[in-house]
């Protein structure tokens, strides 16, 4: 019924003059070639034929079609399809999969891919330079035109069929890629689209979809039943002089930061290694040691090792570092050769240090690993004397020295940390043997089903969840199985003799085809348990980071995410897929074009009664896509489908929309947290995400996220503001006044933000004046008091307490003052605060009558003193005592010039005793 052919040509970094290109493309108007027409086949229901040429390190040409499409392909192919050096013979058909794959291309040599379509032939000459820039030559017909490295020239006779060109080009002004897409007038709205710096100069929405659709399957690679894709996450912001060579690199999972230590082994004191911290997108966060911290000695031990402090900045001045790792709290752990572990925060400020044991100082650390377990972050080291030491949780440090490994001398060939049965163990390979070390014992183990001729194990890797284990033997065999070594999953011969530099599990929850990614110097190999494998050539030094649902490949210029394509995405985007979601997407696309075909597709879904599933599929697939345009297309399709449903809960749709917006925001390269939708709920709850944003000081974004997700203020916005304010008060370059004003303006009276907490922070930073200014904003005077007391502003504290009207608080301050001041000052202070004074008097009346007397004495309050003596005379049981007391009362009354009371008292005292004395 309908057939689309998308031909996409990708040209990398080849062109410099945009204008020229635009001009050229304009010149190309008036070509009337529509492949669409050509491919219309009666009675078939072909959804699409895709020919994708992706030029990068690997070139692949692939056409996938359904059974009925083979006709079309045959018609094309019948004329001539040429796969360059690989030749037509390399087009293979795997069973059950209507898929043609061109394999056998290697990256190093220039590639030629030739396509011939009947009278027309298109030939591409591709060559790759070491930096991956491609030069493209296009040839049409019999003529051949050479091209220079800086421009793309195409020539065609009347029947050349480019539907879409996408050209990535380097504009000379900004060092940013711009994109030029070209579309022939054959399509309904042929136009020129220039995307520069993410701005559309001339947009055609249809085209964008078309482009992204085309790309979705373009980077899919089959592995067994599943597909693997490599998505580019970022072009790295950093510019590393020597790439990642000779560096210790540690990247935290969940899109965490990257730490880079250059030339860790150089020991000459003049040039020390440099430590730098980057965000996942390569934005520099800190270089170590940070300039301001130079004066502070990081720790006494370190300075004793290197006594001269006159070191240039930005250099590591502690001992040689063996290993870097990130803790779950985004703290950088640096394991030194002498067993000291230094902990830095994200911004390179030193936090604390601990040692892995005294004996390590002598024997030195050979290797170390930082691992994450349910108990937190742990550190494992192996020392020069081949002994292992473990610390399961660095927050609660308990060192465990593991038993000796029999026959192990020097470096173990490889080892890994396992967490099993709530125990942390070490799996170590020593020669041909494999041992499991736990607290008490060292047990020899044998991986089940490992062929005897495989040889000793030279590399091992544990999966993200500690459930699976991969072992690489010296003969190049890869064994995978459960990490408890009870079951084998597969054993594959990789045909690679060298030990891989890195080996990481790549799987996702409910994975169809878990795989292990192995990295050699110039090769990335994805090996599934089905003996199938995918090869990716590597241009430069890269680092693999195992994630929950894939592997991040960090190179010196870009970062990619390698992952298994989720089933739902496969269903939707697989060429010729008839899944409800795929049909819905197609229906929506037609609808956008105002085509009546939309109805046909929709009817088809509805006939099967799967529209609900279709919507769900689209929503789910959108969640798994990384590209916002694809997400949008899918969500629009879902929303379109939703209209035809009654009683369909919009919850999933709404939540996914929200989550995607948040995720897209944090993936932004300036923020640099490439979280996938699977990782987001797994460990990164919303709270954690906001905390991480706050920790990285992305306050506006964090606030926006809170507002957008309608998190209650006291949990969301207020918390962010609190952190912001706490950070703000530490800014040394601003005056107290300015900071106080800024804080007040921003924080205002947001609920749940306590100015006293902020003030406490200011006080900690040694700014008592600022603290007092901030305290003035605190509405609840009760909150101000504890800090004021701490700051020894007891007078102020007392008056604030009185102001609060909370007698308990007044009393707290009074008690504090009583213990803190000498009696005279204390009384004087009370005197100025009648409320506190009367409170204290009440207390004294019952508890400390003598103090009460002193209090009156201090004030020369003779009247009250007289009263006091009278009262206390009641308590005296002896008559003489009473008389003495009353006499004192008379004296006091006299002093108070209260003659009346004095006289009244004198006469009856001698005649009648006060009531109660009678019994004596």
């Amino acid at each position: 019924m309908s057939t689309h052919l998308h031909l996409v040509l990708v040209v990398l970094h080849g062109v410099q003059h945009v204008d020229q290109l635009v001009e050229q493309s304009q010149n190309r108007d008036g070509i009337d070639w529509t492949l669409t027409k050509l491919l219309q086949v009666e009675g078939s229901r072909t959804r699409g034929l895709l020919l994708a040429l992706r030029v990068q390190v690997q070139v692949q040409v692939r056409g996938i079609c359904g059974d009925h499409q083979v006709l079309v392909l045959m018609r094309l192919g019948g004329h001539h399809i040429d796969g360059g050096t690989s030749g037509p013979d390399n087009w293979t058909r795997t069973q059950n999969q209507n898929r043609l794959t061109a394999t056998g291309l290697t990256s190093a040599a220039p590639q030629r891919v030739k396509l011939s379509l009947s009278t027309l032939s298109l030939e591409l000459s591709l060559s790759t330079t070491p930096r991956g820039e491609g030069v493209v030559t296009m040839e049409t017909g019999q003529e051949r035109e050479p091209v220079s490295a800086n421009e793309v020239i195409w020539k065609e006779n009347g029947s050349f069929p480019p539907i879409v060109f996408e050209l990535e080009l380097q504009s000379p002004e900004e060092n940013r890629p711009a994109r030029l897409c070209y579309r022939t007038p054959a399509s309904s709205c042929g136009s020129v689209l220039v995307r520069r710096q993410n701005r559309l100069l001339c947009a055609d929405p249809d085209l964008i979809i078309l482009l992204s659709m085309a790309f979705i399957t373009a980077n899919w690679n089959p592995l067994g039943d599943a597909f693997y894709r490599k998505t580019e996450l970022y072009e790295m912001f950093w510019s590393l002089r020597d790439g990642l060579r000779d560096s210790l690199v540690a990247a935290a999972p969940y899109g965490g930061p990257i730490a880079l230590l250059r030339e860790p082994l150089r020991r000459s004191p003049s040039t020390r290694p440099q430590l730098e911290i980057y965000s996942a997108s390569g934005v520099s966060i800190a270089s170590f040691p940070v300039r301001t911290r130079v004066q502070h000695t990081t720790c006494p031990r370190v300075t004793s090792l290197f006594p001269s402090p006159v070191l240039p900045v930005f250099q590591w001045k502690s001992g040689p570092v063996v290993h870097l790792g990130w803790s779950v709290n985004d703290e950088l752990l640096c394991v030194q050769e002498d067993g000291t572990v230094l902990i830095y925060d994200l911004f390179g400020s030193f936090k604390r240090h601990f040692s892995m044991g005294q004996e390590v100082v002598q024997s030195q650390v050979l290797e170390a690993k930082v691992f994450h377990s349910p108990y937190g972050t742990g550190v494992a080291i192996v020392t020069g004397s081949s002994r292992f030491t473990l610390a399961t949780n660095i927050e609660d440090l308990k060192l465990r020295r593991l038993p000796e490994v029999p026959g192990l001398q020097g470096w173990p060939s490889c080892w890994a940390v396992l967490t099993q049965d709530r125990q942390t163990k070490v799996l170590v390979s020593s020669g041909p043997e494999l041992y499991v070390l736990d607290n008490t014992s060292c047990t020899a183990v044998y991986p089940p089903g490992l062929s005897p001729q495989a040889g000793s194990i030279v590399h091992m890797s544990v999966s993200f969840s500690y459930k699976y284990l991969a072992l690489f033997t010296e003969t190049g065999r890869l064994w995978t199985g459960l990490s408890n070594l009870q079951e084998r999953l597969s054993e594959v011969d990789t045909k690679q003799a060298a030990t891989p530099k890195q080996m990481v599990w790549c799987r996702r929850p409910r994975s169809q085809q878990p795989s292990v990614v192995l990295m050699w110097d110039r090769l990335l190999l994805v090996v599934g348990s089905c003996n199938d494998s995918i090869q990716f050539p590597l241009e430069d030094q890269s680092v693999l980071v195992g994630e929950l649902d894939g592997v991040r490949v960090i190179g010196s210029s870009s970062q990619e995410l390698l992952q298994e394509v989720p089933l739902v995405c496969q269903d939707i985007f697989k060429i010729a897929s008839m899944a409800p979601g795929a049909l819905l997407l197609e229906a929506h696309r037609e609808y956008e074009k105002s085509s009546q075909k939309a109805d046909e597709y929709l009817r088809e879904i509805k006939e099967q009664n799967v529209l609900g599933d279709a919507v769900r599929q689209c929503v789910e697939a959108a969640a798994h896509e990384y590209d916002p345009d694809t997400q949008k297309a899918l969500m629009r399709a879902a929303s379109f489908g939703k209209c035809f449903l009654t009683e369909f809960s919009p919850d999933q749709f709404v939540t996914t929309c929200r989550e995607l917006r948040v995720l897209n925001a944090v993936r932004e390269s300036s923020v640099g947290m490439p979280l996938t939708h699977t990782q987001y709920p797994a460990l990164m709850t919303l709270q954690v995400l906001i905390d991480r944003l706050v920790y990285r000081q992305f306050y506006p974004l964090a606030i926006e996220v809170c507002r957008y997700l309608k998190i209650p203020d006291y949990q969301g916005v207020s918390r962010v503001l609190k952190h912001w304010a706490s950070c703000k008060v530490q800014q040394k370059d601003l005056t107290d006044e300015a900071i106080a004003r800024a804080v007040c303006a921003k924080v205002g009276d947001s609920p749940g933000v306590s100015y006293s907490d902020i003030a406490a922070k200011a006080y900690e930073c040694g700014r008592p004046e600022l603290a007092i200014k901030l305290l003035d904003f605190e509405a609840r005077s009760g909150e101000q008091v504890p800090l004021l007391l701490k700051m020894k502003r007891s007078q102020l504290a007392l008056s604030k307490a009185v102001e609060s009207g909370d007698t308990d608080l007044v009393y707290t301050v009074v008690t504090y003052l009583k213990n803190d001041m000498n009696r005279g000052d204390f009384f004087m202070t009370l005197r100025n605060q009648p409320v506190a004074l009367s409170l204290y008097r009440q207390f004294c009346k019952l508890q400390e009558p003598q103090t009460l007397k002193d209090l009156f004495n201090q004030d020369d309050d003779h009247q009250e003193l007289g009263n006091f003596y009278v009262t206390s005379s009641y308590r005296d049981k002896r008559l003489e005592g009473r008389l003495a007391q009353l006499q004192s009362a008379v004296d006091e009354y006299n002093k108070a010039k209260n003659d009346f009371a004095a006289k009244v008292k004198v006469s009856p005292v001698h005649q009648v005793c006060p009531p109660g004395v009678d019994g004596l």
Binding site: S804, V835, L839, Q847, V870, A901
Partner: protein
């Protein structure tokens, strides 16, 4: 009451909710303490507790024995408390007001236990809240670790459908005499509780320092808590300090309920009639509230009407009984099953109130009550002060009643804005000789509170005096000074009474059966100042026009309009009046009257029900 009420009086909110809340909380607290326990209760918490949860409820929650906390020191092992404690269960629970004295007593108990090596668990439940000072005492005495503490938020006890009491008699003395503001927060919390149950209030008025502080404390708590939008059941709130108006509680009450309180002392809405009323050996405890139909009709009546009313009632009752005659069996049956019980009940109450009234009559006529009232009225009006003083002197010298004499003295001083020095000296000397020198301290307290003060000679008149003094000789000057002093007698009270028309014109006859204004509660002699202020403020919707009055009272007035989105018009006419420092039954009667006149309903919240005796007893300082 003969006066017909306005039809559109709004319905009062259901205050028994407060009771249920508090009971549930107490039960929850008791359930937190599993096992049998002995409960020690502060003596003045006994009757309020009884209104909340009776003994059987307590027993249901495994309270084994109940004891009263008495502040007797524990001297030796043979002491009865130790005996009790030795026999008592392993868990002892104290339910007390947060008073240092009580806490000290508990410390002694715990320490005594420790001394004999007995291990027990102690729980102190403070109500309505705990104070830091109490904990400090526990710490000081070294038992902080041995006891656990909790709070029972028992702030409000509804005594009747329109009276709520905090049952904090010490509020008055602590706050106004000792200047100790610890209870202000309690009052604020009580207001907060009412606000959260029946609010939001649309307008809050108040006068007095303590009121202002209470308001602020409440405001603070509202801001800290979360707000829920509800239907307001109480519209306006009026906060008033006791020290704004001392005159009213110092006057003899002549409304029935007030009289009963003056003579028999109503305790927590419950009165105990002694043998002279019950005409038997036993005394009877009677609940006095709106449930009691007879009482409900006479409580607000001037006493002179009560007899007439009661006899009318008796006649009605008789007619009701008489209906029996000439009934057939069926009618008789329904009569017995439906009416008879009610009639019997009414009968019993009627006879009780009649004998109570008789008893009141006896007491009041005996001591020349009319004379006393006349003196009071003279004092209020400021007539014939000399005669009044002689009456008071006689009263003192005949030693009629220590409190009564003191009351008259205070009334004299308050209405006259202080006594002349020579009067003051002589009256004070006579009083001390008559009732004992130990009242010296009482006088000091009264002076501090401004209830009984000496006019400072020439304080306000010095300038004038010195000018005049130069002109005339000494003798004349003395006279002149007297004259000026009498000028100065145009005291605050005088000025206020003139300003607010507190004293109705005495020429016309005041018909106490059909009262015209609130003055009927004092036999038409005086409109209570506190109630008059409330009336004026409500009428004017604020303090505008009352500037002079507030200046005389000495300020701290406020009127705040709260958030008022959609309160029912009914709610606007329900007014919560909070007396800080206590209020009298007469004032409540006056407010009920005012409500009927203007179509308001008042709910009175008070820290405690007070009267002249309670007010003055709180200020006595002759406790040994």
């Amino acid at each position: 009451m003969a006066h017909s009420a306005r039809r559109d009086s709004p319905e009062l909110p259901d205050l028994s909710l407060l009771k249920r809340l508090v009971r549930d909380q107490l039960i929850y607290l008791l359930e937190q303490l599993p096992g049998k326990k002995d409960l020690f209760i502060d003596s003045d918490l006994m009757s309020p507790l009884d209104r909340i949860a009776n003994v059987s409820t307590l027993k249901q929650h495994e309270v084994d024995k109940l004891y009263k906390v008495e502040h007797k020191p524990i001297v030796s092992i043979s002491d009865q408390y130790v005996l009790l404690l030795v026999t008592g269960g392993p868990l002892i629970c104290f339910l007390i007001r947060p008073r240092i004295q009580t806490v000290k007593w508990i410390c002694d108990v715990v320490n005594a236990d420790k001394a004999v090596g007995k291990f027990r668990r102690y729980k102190i439940i403070f109500t309505p809240q705990k104070f830091y000072a109490c904990e400090a005492v526990l710490e000081e005495q070294g038992v902080f670790g041995d006891v656990t503490t909790d709070e029972w938020a028992f702030y409000l006890l509804p005594l009747d459908e329109d009276i709520i009491s905090l049952e904090l008699p010490e509020f008055f003395r602590d706050n106004f005499l000792a200047g100790d503001q610890r209870w202000v927060r309690t009052a604020g919390s009580a207001l907060h509780l009412l606000h959260s149950l029946f609010g939001p209030f649309s307008k809050v008025y108040g006068i007095g320092r303590c009121s202002k502080m209470t308001y602020e404390s409440w405001r603070e708590q509202v801001e800290q808590g979360e707000q829920k939008a509800r239907h307001a059941e109480i519209g306006n709130v009026f906060l008033i300090d006791r020290d704004v108006d001392f005159v009213t509680p110092l006057c003899s009450q002549v409304v029935y309920e007030g009289l009963v309180d003056d003579i028999f002392r109503i305790k927590c809405g419950c009165v105990e009639f002694g043998p002279e009323v019950t005409s038997s050996d036993k005394s009877i405890k009677v609940m006095l509230n709106s449930q009691d139909k007879v009482f409900n009709e006479i409580r607000n009546e001037h006493f002179s009407n009560v007899f007439g009313f009661l006899s009318q009632k008796a006649r009605n009752l008789q007619t009701a009984y008489d209906k029996r005659r000439g009934m057939d069996i069926q009618q008789m049956k329904t009569f017995v099953s439906e009416e008879l019980k009610g009639l019997k009940q009414e009968h019993r109450l009627l006879s009780l109130h009649i004998s109570a009234s008789e008893s009141i009559m006896k007491k009041k006529t005996k001591q020349d009550f009319q004379e006393l009232l006349k003196t009071e009225h003279c004092l209020l009006e400021g007539f014939e002060i000399r005669e009044c003083i002689s009456f008071i002197e006689e009263h003192i010298n005949r030693q009629i009643s220590m409190i009564e004499s003191l009351r008259l003295l205070c009334l004299l001083s308050v209405t006259e804005n202080g006594l002349l020095p020579k009067d003051f000296k002589s009256l004070k000397a006579q009083y001390l000789q008559s009732y004992g020198a130990d009242h010296l301290l009482t006088f000091s307290n009264l002076r501090q509170l401004g209830l009984l003060v000496e006019q400072q000679p020439g304080e306000t008149l010095t300038v004038m005096e010195s000018k005049v003094g130069k002109l005339v000789n000494d003798r004349a000057a003395v006279k002149l000074t007297d004259a000026f002093s009498s000028l100065a007698k145009k005291s605050h009270f005088r000025a206020l009474s003139k300003k607010l028309n507190l004293i109705p014109k005495s020429e016309e006859d005041y018909d106490l059966r059909v009262p015209r204004d609130m003055a009927y509660i004092f036999s038409g002699a005086y409109i209570p100042l506190s109630c008059k202020i409330i009336e004026q403020v409500l009428e004017r919707d604020g303090w505008t026009g009352l500037e002079e009055v507030t200046r005389l009272i000495n300020g701290h007035e406020f009127a705040v309009t709260g958030a008022d989105p959609k309160s029912k018009s009914d709610a606007r006419r329900i007014i919560l009046v909070m007396f800080l420092g206590g209020c009298t039954f007469s004032e409540i009667s006056a407010l009920r009257f005012l409500g009927k006149e203007k179509g308001y309903k008042f709910i009175v919240v008070t820290t405690a029900i007070t009267n002249s005796s309670r007010l003055l007893e709180a200020l006595l300082d002759n406790n040994i």
